[in-house]
Amino acid sequence: MKTTTSATAGAIALALGLAGSAQAGTLEDVQARGVLNCVVSTGVAGFAYPDDAGKWHGFDVDFCRATAAAVLGDPEAIKAVTSTGKTRFTKLNAGEGDVLWRNTTITFSRDVGVKLRFHGVNYYDGQGFMVPKSLGISSAKELDGASVCIQTGTTTELNLADYFHSNGMKYEAVTIETNNEARQNYLAGRCDVYTTDASGLASTRSTFTDPENHVVLPEIISKEPLGPATRHGDDQWSDIVTWVLNATVTAEEKGVTSANVDDMMANSKDPEVLRLLGVEGNQGSELGLSADWAYNIIKSVGNYGEIFERNIGVNTPIGLARGLNALWTDGGLQYSPPFR
């Protein structure tokens, strides 16, 4: 019901022109409003979830806060616009959100067909399978004939079809709308397997009462580069989101953290750090932001590594290692273009 109505509402919004912000001027809109609207998921532990008080937390939410810190100087000035896999782009394109930070894979059809702007990768992921240990399965190749819980409107739904098709296996697709419903159906035994991004599996498993009784199979069947998205037609806003992400990565690379950022600002000799923090040059005003935009991000939310470790790192219940998401200097793929 909810999604049907919101899809229809999205279509109607397109029709009635409530989507006035589809054009340029997102920055002015956000600053006039004083609040940044971020399209996030309906709830994935570690990535985007509300606490008991209704305050949102998580890896994706922190990037939303970083954006708000850059644009409004206040990481708390955000509003979470929840969306299922199916409704997220409609909500973004209809103007309900200014930017999307929601476990979203960058693909050709989303970039070119759905007309989104992507701005880099905040999490390099791949699709995996989770099964109860009691099934005694050790490879995805043994899943012929299984019932598979899958979230509707995702890339994982398409990868799943391709994977079983190309391996000559059959399966029953149990198509589900949200991560939470998938979790319930999986635990109730409606499906044998839950498949989604490996990060999503780790996150979902961490919410089980008996995580040790479930295993993630070794096969990773796809590339899922997850990143933020915005609408077409506003280059300035696109640049801002791109460089918010880059700022967090560069900060980590340069060793700038929320703890030492003031010290760095005062004492650093590295010209790139000084440009990043707005001490030298005028990159902030070129973006249409204040000079301390990146300082605000790092001071209030931290650098990429801090965001990662705080929400989903090995010392959290989610327990994800940096892996592909380590800096390129540490053998990973996180690599920011220079601030020059």
Partner: protein, 396 residues
Amino acid sequence: MAIASVENRSSIASLWRNKEARSVIVQIITVTVVFALVALALRNVAVNLEAIGKEFSFDFLTAPAAYDITFSPFLDYTSRDTHLIAAAVGILNTLLVAVCGIAFATLLGFTMGVLRLSGNWLISRMAYVFIEFTRNVPVLLHILLVHGIVVTTLPAPRNAIGIGDTMFVSNRGFYVPAPVFEDGAGIVGAVLVIAIVAAMGFRRWAKRMQDETGKIYPVFWICTGIVAGATAVAFLAAGMPLSWEVPALKGFNFKGGMALKPEFLALWLALSYYTSCFIAEIVRAGILAVSHGQTEAAHALGLRPNRTLQLVVIPQALRIIVPPLVSQYLNLTKNSSLAIAIGYMDVVATIGGISLMQTGKEVETMIIVLGVYLVFSLTISAFMNWFNRSIRLKER
């Protein structure tokens, strides 16, 4: 000049005072405003799509859908088929649940409507409580409730409840043997059709005889006899050309046989019993509206209670029942769009959901979905209008 304009004004004023002219003017204005709004909306769609660089086109329908739909009882669908075929699967699934739902809701509704009028206090109270509880809870919750019960309380396939080793009940569905037709089954089918035609002929004839001579034949029993008898004889003569494919557990799931899937079951049952409560109230009102004098008059004529109900009360009650019944059927059909909540792949979940999402064609896919519901609704209305006319009071 001045005089002319005064005259003009007074003629407009008099036009306004004229009731007929006024209503024409108001209608013209209304139509103009409505058209202007529609045009504005369409223009806005075009402008907004343009602003984000999207073109309006249905070309995507011929591209491979690339997603799987496991529940497709009518079409052999694979992920290599097009979005158009995926839409067709969704439309047929919507149709399936709507038709089954309408049938079951009607049956249940009429039964409960009658039970509500029962002289037995306990029965009528129970029907009352059920109706009041059900219709005051949103239908989405009923759907989730039934689905939840099926999925969480029934055992997994490995521990399925077997009924005589041929039927199995599990949280992945209810499995029953599937009929397998062998050589000669076609003949039996043909005999069945002929028998039905013959039975209908007999019914006609019996009615004419009753009109002419007043003699009443036990039409129902004779018709049943003709159909069942002829088919049974043909079945035996053709050497019983029917066997059963029994479901069996293979690997993760049952294979073979026919299955009632939890998603279909939940949607079908919930929509049916929810709608049946409204139908029950309509039926009760319809029956109560036939004045008691009619029944008494029929009794006075010597009609037995059964015949009184059949010939006097029901035909009159139907006239009151049918119009509101139509809107219940329409509601049920539209409510079936809640299917996605439990993963039943109807038209909203397929073309209006996954296809929409994968192609980014919000406006186009929503137009298709709205069109489908419109066609369904108009068809139901047309059929019920026809039915309503056929039971109308025939004045002689």
